[in-house]
């Protein structure tokens, strides 16, 4: 047990080595120490507890991720099966419509279906999850732990994404085989899934956290997923003007474009990098917004 020196009255001594406004442990970062009234300097004076430090991002992220992963085995496996089946089903459907000789269109269909699996998880499931937590008043659990909000959002999103990985791979490989596309660029799936997942997860989490009712969170998630579905799979050159506009503001479009590019005979890596850069930027912004929404929703 650590005893923090204080001045009578229970306020940490100002100035000198104890000048931290939050008490001594704020700087040394000693978690979990508590003090009782005790004798300091020969007389009994009140003693304030040391201030436990904030839990660093990585440790908090790992704890949230691990916890969520353990609950996912039961709760999410069937959903992932549905997500994969949905995308593979769309692939099979379009195989009968799209000509294999139109490589660009085929590439976009496969890329769109692959990103759809990510959207199912990141938009739909996360919006539902955070909407339910908010409605039940269960956000208090996270808000009363000394962890960054981004760690909560990202840890939850990452655990959901982990369950999406098999579906993403299965969809991409099935699609490439169905439409005679090369599999050599498939490693791009990793950054695409990660960055598209990040940007959509931020939107999904924020929608769930800000929706006043859980049903609205569910609707928002499903609507978002439908938009990703249509704008991702319909070849971009066949969209009307307003569709183009929406497609350009949708972060998943950049993931679809990056993945489409890797299926083409001559890959323009500069375009891939640029598209992924946009995804990364959007991911940072939307995840930060979701972390802000976490506190706002919990304390509203």
């Amino acid at each position: 047990m650590t005893v923090a020196p204080v001045v009578p009255g229970g306020i940490p001594a100002a100035g000198g080595p104890q000048a931290s406004p939050l008490g001594p442990a704020d700087r040394v970062g000693t978690p979990g120490a508590a003090t009782a009234a005790g004798a300091v300097g020969g007389g009994t004076v009140p003693v304030v507890p040391v201030m436990p430090g904030r839990t660093p991002f990585l440790a908090a992220f790992a704890a949230v991720y691990r916890g969520q992963l353990s609950r996912g085995k039961v709760a999410r496996m069937p959903l992932m099966f549905v997500a994969t089946l949905q995308s593979v089903g769309i692939l099979l459907l379009l195989r009968g419509v799209v000509s294999v000789s139109d490589v660009t269109t085929c590439a976009q269909v496969v890329a769109g279906c692959t990103v759809l699996v990510v959207a199912f998880v990141a938009l739909n499931l996360l919006a539902q999850r955070f909407g339910a937590l908010r409605a039940a008043g269960a956000l208090d659990y996270y808000l009363t732990l000394p962890v960054p909000g981004t760690a909560v959002v990202l840890g939850t999103a990452a655990s959901y994404a982990t369950f999406a990985v098999p579906g993403v791979v299965v969809t991409a490989v099935t699609g490439a085989l169905l439409f005679d596309l090369p599999l050599s660029g498939l490693w791009v799936l990793a950054p695409v899934a990660l960055l598209a997942g990040g940007s959509l997860a931020g939107i999904g989490a924020a929608a769930g956290l800000l929706a006043p009712r859980p049903e609205l969170a569910t609707i928002a998630g499903q609507l978002g997923m439908s938009i990703v579905l249509f704008l991702g799979i319909i070849p971009s050159d066949r969209l009307p003007g307003v569709g183009w506009l929406v497609r350009d503001v949708l972060p998943s479009s950049y993931a679809v474009d990056a993945l489409t590019e890797t299926f083409l005979p001559s890959v323009r890596w500069g375009i891939v990098a640029l598209d992924l850069g946009v995804c990364a930027l959007v991911a940072v912004v939307t995840l930060a917004a979701a972390a802000g929404a976490l506190r706002r929703a919990g304390t509203a």
């Binding site: 430090g53 916890g67 009363t144």
Partner: protein, 317 residues
């Protein structure tokens, strides 16, 4: 030394056009190292009060200090100094008990080894070792609540703020929680603020209790001193097998004074009056209709009612 110092705390809830004053100019001092209770019926504003104290809500007026730190200006500080147990456990519902406790410890900054050691200790302390690997959602309601208490105890904070920690627990688990709280206070000087609407809990574990009614603190003292306020009265409880005879003067006298719940009457009176009433009842015609009776010394419930408390949904068991 004080842990929490609350002054003039007011919080209004707005729902459409109506405004409900959930907390109304509350002043409260929680001495450090005490088990401090907030007692009151449902809707008295207890949860709003502790959520304000934890920085989860912003007050409309008033100030809150925790160990000298301004909670209103820095609502993130209670998360570092205090462990909080809320009423909803949805965030943990699908997690195995051991994982819930361990990851909560990790989020309070414990190393992996320390989190595991504390997890094992607290599960053992609360008798949860047998269900450690089962998800919270798949165990009984009482065990589920107990597992949530375990998550609040891990990571040893100097302050515990617990919203009805023993609701739904069987008597044995309830005692295990009380013992765990007392142990932390005695051995580590931990301060505990707990919400209860259970009179027995308030009388058994609390060093001090604030009685809340309709958003206001109507009394705050040790349970013993509060009970001394109504010490001269006793509580006579009567359970009737059938409707008692109206024409019996004793029945009429008691009936006028009693608060009734079906055929169960409760009358507060001086010991002399109670003795007289019992003598008349047991020797008169009403005795045939009487199923059971009991005479009890005052409880915090009597204090609550004598102070003007209005609702009657405090628990006694």
């Amino acid at each position: 030394m004080r842990s929490f110092a609350v002054r003039g705390l007011t919080r209004r809830h707005r729902a459409g056009d109506t405004v409900v004053v959930a907390n109304d100019r509350i002043d409260l001092d929680v001495p450090a190292g005490e088990v401090f209770g907030i007692l009151g019926p449902n809707g008295a504003g207890k949860t709003t009060l502790v959520r304000l104290m934890m920085g989860l809500l912003r007050p409309d007026e008033g100030s809150i200090e925790l160990f000298g730190h301004d909670v209103v200006a820095r609502p993130d500080l209670p998360a570092r100094l205090a462990a909080y147990l809320g009423q909803s456990d949805l965030a943990l519902a699908d997690l195995p008990v051991a994982t819930a406790v361990e990851t909560t410890g990790r989020m309070r900054g414990l190393t992996k080894a320390a989190a595991r050691a504390e997890r094992d200790a607290v599960l053992d302390e609360l008798g949860l070792t047998g269900v450690a690997e089962r998800p919270l959602g798949k165990i009984s309601g009482g065990q589920r609540r107990l597992a949530c208490v375990a998550t609040a105890l891990v990571g040893s904070r100097p302050m515990l703020v617990l919203d009805e920690p023993t609701t739904g627990l069987d008597p044995r688990s309830r005692r295990a929680v009380w013992a765990a709280l007392r142990r932390r206070r005695d051995e580590a000087g931990v301060t505990v603020v707990l919400i209860t609407h259970n009179v027995l809990e308030a009388e058994t574990v609390l060093d001090r209790v604030a009685v809340l009614d309709a958003g206001r603190v109507i009394a705050c003292d040790t349970p013993g001193r509060l009970k001394a306020l109504v010490d001269s009265d006793v509580r006579l409880e009567l359970a009737w097998r059938e409707d008692p005879p109206d024409d019996d003067p004793t029945v009429r006298w008691l009936g006028a004074e009693a608060t009734r719940a079906g055929r169960r009457w409760t009358v507060r009176m001086s010991p002399e009056q109670a003795r007289e009433a019992l003598a008349l009842l047991t020797t008169g015609p009403a005795f045939a209709a009487l199923d059971d009776f009991s005479l009890a010394t005052p409880s915090l419930e009597d204090v609550y009612l004598s102070l003007g408390g209005t609702s009657r949904d405090l628990e006694r068991t």
